[in-house]
Symmetry: none
Subunit: 204 residues, 4 copies
């Protein structure tokens, strides 16, 4: 039984990983189910044993990738002490993930609303969760006096906006050898932190 589960689980994962590879390389429409099956070294029909359709497989693949990202993010954030530290970790982890999963990033960043309502909704939802999670963190941080009181929603948007655009730069543009993205994100963080900094009187 555990054997069956193992084999079964193994295959499911193998298919998801194969899907990641193929979908990332070719995009949803140009990727062929048969190709994914080959990559996973399973029969074409087997893919349909685990996923109801190509679209569902695509969705599951995205969820899997996103989960991986969130896991590593939470792990890092839990160790952050100051807000600046947290921001830096956020930028760091996100950029690394994007760099490693460049092709997948294309999909996550350039959320494809036209691929289908369902997929789009899930991605939007994930983004909202992230924004809300950031909002909560900002409330804590505000309470702790690390930043001045602002609309945490607006602040979240500024933070993730900068983050996503920088990641876009990392991923989409091939002249990435020249640019120091490390420093770029540092400067963006500086601007944002200053924008959120508590009133100057404290500096006196």
């Amino acid at each position: 039984m555990s054997d069956i589960n193992k084999i079964s689980g193994d295959k499911r994962l193998r298919i998801i990983k194969a899907a990641t590879k193929i979908f990332s390389r070719k995009g949803f429409h140009k990727a062929k189910v048969e190709e994914i099956a080959e990559e996973a070294v399973v029969g074409k029909g087997t893919v349909y044993e685990y996923f109801a359709s190509k679209k569902e497989l695509f969705l599951e693949m995205i969820l899997y990738a996103h989960q991986q990202y969130q896991d590593s993010l939470e792990q890092e954030l839990s160790r952050a002490e100051t807000f600046r530290d947290g921001l830096q970790k956020l930028f760091q982890v996100t950029m690394n993930f994007m760099k490693e999963h460049k092709e997948m990033a294309l999909i996550l960043l350039a959320d494809h609303p036209l691929l289908g309502e369902d997929i789009h909704k899930v991605l939007c939802q994930k983004e909202q969760q992230q924004l809300e999670s950031m909002s909560k963190m900002l409330q804590d941080v505000t309470r702790r006096g690390e930043i001045r009181p602002v609309s945490t929603h607006a602040a979240s948007l500024v933070i993730f906006g900068a983050l996503y655009l920088i990641c876009g730069q990392v991923v989409f543009h091939e002249d990435n050898q020249e640019t120091d993205f490390q420093q770029l994100s540092q400067e963006a963080i500086n601007i944002i932190l200053r924008g959120l900094a508590p009133p100057v009187k404290e500096m006196l």
Copy 2:
């Protein structure tokens, strides 16, 4: 003679507008050329008289939309006096455009790198142009002492990042009645401007 041009130009434009409608509603892959032709009230073959392929039509449509956006943006920006004013106009115009062309916005925001190299490249290029144009403006503004000296590249990313994410909120999320995007963008601008504000000593 002018008649011929008019008719001819008319048809090309009619097709582009029809394409905008259909592509926006259904996305590239689900849109059918025949449907676009019907919408434009021309024969299917006529589409191919003006555009070499479905893809070229798609690209031309995007360029047309983008041009419209840039035109209205430039017009507004030319009237802006302070940097804050400019930023507000930028957010204003962009949000309005996105609201009015919701479906097209889906495409512009969620730049589809997987649709094809060529289209992706053009979109990236447009984005880079916008970032650079903002960088230049920031240099002027810095020289005028309106903001402190920062990496204009980083600052541009922060600004457009916030802008795009807010537009995404406007477009993607249907609960937009509740949220006051006007105020949201105002708050984001406040954060950003503070982040870019000249040293506090001036405040003394």
Copy 3:
């Protein structure tokens, strides 16, 4: 296992036979793949499981028909004792094949160089093979003293020229009830044999 092969082989052959029927009736361009599939009682996609394209199917069909013709020809020729006997068998078998496969003959006789380089080349090659095979036979026959020494190439051309034109008469012209093609070919053979006959001194 043999079942699987049988079924598989069956389908391929069924498609080829259907193709023969449809292509012969309508020619390459007017024949529709779907029609061939229907005739073979298989799905349209199945045709493409066995043949990469309409053109390849066409080529395979021709090769199949040609093979059938050659097989029956060789069988007959192996039994021929004199050269006259061989010539008669050649004319006999060829005319019979053409009569039975009238429509296919249209294609084989009227080799379509404009259908595509590849198909044309294969057909030319087959014809050359036949000419060469005849040349060799003529050399043997010459050695045996049955005919006088001539350019075997020229002789082959005369023989096959007459053969093809007679077959053309059989196939292309519908007033074939009136004409006695049996006798016509006999007379042609007589003329040719006389043209190749050894010097008259033997007649003394």
Copy 4:
């Protein structure tokens, strides 16, 4: 008026010549009416002023080419004194025509019965005319005692069969530098003439 006719006639001929060029190069199906119009330097619509359809244009083009061939053939044959001389002229003129109109020859030789009943019928008819004309000539020659009495139909088939196959060699095969077609046809003629030669006793 004569001007109009001239221009008119000019255009018709220009179109036919352009058609010859394009059809020969690409074959019926791949040739485009627009291309022919361009080659003839007339508007696409103008083609339809002179020819009811692409197919009719094709037919007219073939008739025109065939007429040219027959004219030059008759001119040469009228000067021939002996039968051998006539045969040689026939082979000569035909081979030259085929060499000069290689691509057209592809169409004339490889009579395309599948292009359409009408075209096929005309071509068959032309061929029959040629065979009959040869038959008549053979009757004259027989009467003059140049050849022995044979089925003139059979003899015609032998003659044209050899002729067509040799022309096919000239046209279809690109290794035509090596082969001496002049000599090849000479040898074929020798064989045929011997096959038709009067009884040997006359030689005594």
